[in-house]
């Protein structure tokens, strides 16, 4: 298949073309850049949701149910799941489809497994571009399941609009989980396997940690009130219904989070009732905690509601636009870095400087800093 045919079929909604496009992007083939270029104008519409958490927490099972719930709400869903590449063989076993059988039978769902290919941080290098392709293809919601390491999946924050951290009972009191920084990256929390003992306690402990961070300095909240003030000032006002609920008692119990609350709350109400302010730019987001039993499809409606509220929060407060800026800046930096490195290595390599200086550093006749200074002076004119 050549790229013109592929793009034509992609734009006509051909799933095989989408699948092949993903392969090209993942492999960094010469056509990959052209694919991203040609599909970029159609991106920026999907709600990208990251699902992260320790191995075996039930992420894939939850993705299956969450996707099914979004389908019920009339949304099409693209799923990307990343599993680790073996450092020994370079191969990988990608097993997340096993737990997604239910939703994968639905033609409104498309799922792709990716190997991390040596990249740490929970996703692979190409995951961002794969999400872009799914976005351009027209999926309303894109769910990204990270490698289950439970430690260093911060990169998902840079890719998702809404990051959902999945924990299980018996972890909340584990200081490691908190140390590992997993609480800092969540916009919504799911305590899965709530059929097990200790779920309420885990919810309470997470709530406590979140409140500590929310109120203290250097807080856990990634959207403190002032962060969105600039962009939010020009943003739309929260809906009337949301505003009316602002004076509701701001008690946030585990039961409420688990979906037994009587009325659905808007994102801004949810946030503002904790913060006591009506200026959208001043509204902060306190991550909600929801109990789920993914295997029995319990609590999933509530969890999806919290995800939608977070999206609404992002939109109402101008943070959605801020995120687009952030993504654009990050992407540019990434591409500039990659290209400049390649250009410099090529120039220094073909001029023989790379080899000469490598030897010089190795035998200590120069130091690495001076060597790099020399390369930049000669090949970059500075």
């Amino acid at each position: 298949m050549d790229i013109t045919t592929l793009l034509e079929r992609f734009k006509n909604g051909d799933r095989r073309a989408l699948a092949r496009a993903i392969t090209w992007v993942e492999n960094g083939t010469p056509e990959a850049a052209e694919l991203v270029r040609a599909t970029f104008p159609d991106t920026g519409r999907a709600h990208v949701i990251g699902i992260t958490g320790p191995p075996g927490a039930g992420k894939s099972t939850l993705v299956d149910r969450v996707a099914a719930r979004f389908r019920k709400l009339g949304k099409s869903v693209g799923i990307v799941a990343v599993d680790p590449t073996s450092p020994f063989s370079g191969g990988a076993i990608l097993g997340d489809r096993i737990r997604m059988q239910r939703t994968l039978a639905d033609p409104g769902v498309f799922m792709r497994s990716l190997a991390s290919r040596g990249h740490l941080g929970g996703i692979s290098i190409a995951t961002g571009d794969v999400v872009s392709l799914l976005d351009a293809f027209g999926f309303d919601v894109i769910i990204v399941e990270t490698v289950g390491a439970g430690q260093s999946e911060v990169e998902i924050m840079g890719l998702a609009h809404t990051t959902c951290v999945v924990l299980i009972p018996g972890m909340g009191d584990d200081v490691q989980a908190i140390k590992a920084g997993i609480l800092e990256i969540g916009d919504v929390f799911g305590v899965n396997k709530a059929d097990r003992d200790g779920a309420d306690r885990t919810v309470m402990e997470i709530e406590m940690m979140l409140d500590l961070g929310h109120m203290g300095e250097g807080g856990i909240n990634r959207w403190p009130a002032d962060a969105g003030a600039g962009a939010g000032a020009g943003g739309p006002q929260p809906g009337a219904a949301a505003m009316q609920r602002l004076d509701r008692a701001g008690h946030h119990s585990a039961e409420e989070a688990a979906g037994t609350a009587d009325s659905p709350r808007s994102a801004s109400a949810h946030a503002a009732e904790r913060h006591g302010t009506a200026n959208p730019g001043d509204i902060s987001w306190r991550p909600p905690v929801t109990k789920t039993v993914a295997k029995d499809d319990q609590g999933v409606e509530a969890l999806v509601e919290r995800m939608n509220e977070h999206l609404q929060f992002l939109r109402e407060t101008g943070r959605w636009e801020q995120l687009k800026h952030r993504d654009a800046a990050a992407k540019l930096r990434e591409l500039i870095t990659a290209r400049v490195v390649r250009i410099m290595m090529e120039r220094a390599g073909s001029a023989g400087d790379l080899e000469r200086l490598t030897n010089a550093v190795a035998d200590r006749s120069t130091d690495p800093y001076s060597a790099v200074d020399e390369v930049l002076r000669k090949h970059l004119g500075r």
Partner: protein, 132 residues
């Protein structure tokens, strides 16, 4: 760098044994393949859709309970109908000698029995992948 080869290891039919499939999956991984493993109880339509979405180079399908005679040809037909023509299809499991020609005629490149040498499966796969 060499292109990563992707293989879908799938089980067709209703038997609950997937030990053989898992052994093959691990052998592929250890040979550097990216293996999509979908578990048991798969219908041909599901396997075909997974092969398409995952854009695999190889489809290694196993069946123990006699499903091969009907389900494997069905699977190959579905893929053909969708225009998939660059996929290497392999079959494994307990398949009687006399059924092999039928499977090959249906588009299965090779059939590996329960005692098949894993290295041989890997070698055959590498040499016969259709996509460049």
């Amino acid at each position: 760098m060499e292109r990563k080869l992707r293989v879908l290891v799938a089980k067709l039919g209703l038997d609950a044994h997937d030990r053989g499939a898992k052994v093959v999956a691990r052998a592929y991984r250890d040979a550097g393949f990216e293996v999509i493993y979908t578990g048991i109880y798969q219908r041909p339509e599901q396997v075909a859709e997974a092969a398409i979405q995952e854009d695999v180079d190889v489809l290694a399908v196993s069946s123990l309970a006699g499903a091969h005679a009907t389900l494997v040809p069905q699977l190959v037909e579905i893929l053909k109908a969708q225009g998939v023509d660059d996929l290497l299809v392999l079959a494994g499991g307990v398949i009687p000698e006399e059924d092999i020609p039928t499977l090959k005629a249906a588009g299965v490149a090779e059939v590996f029995g329960p005692g098949a040498d894993l290295d041989e499966i890997i070698r055959f796969t590498r040499e016969n992948v259709k996509r460049v």
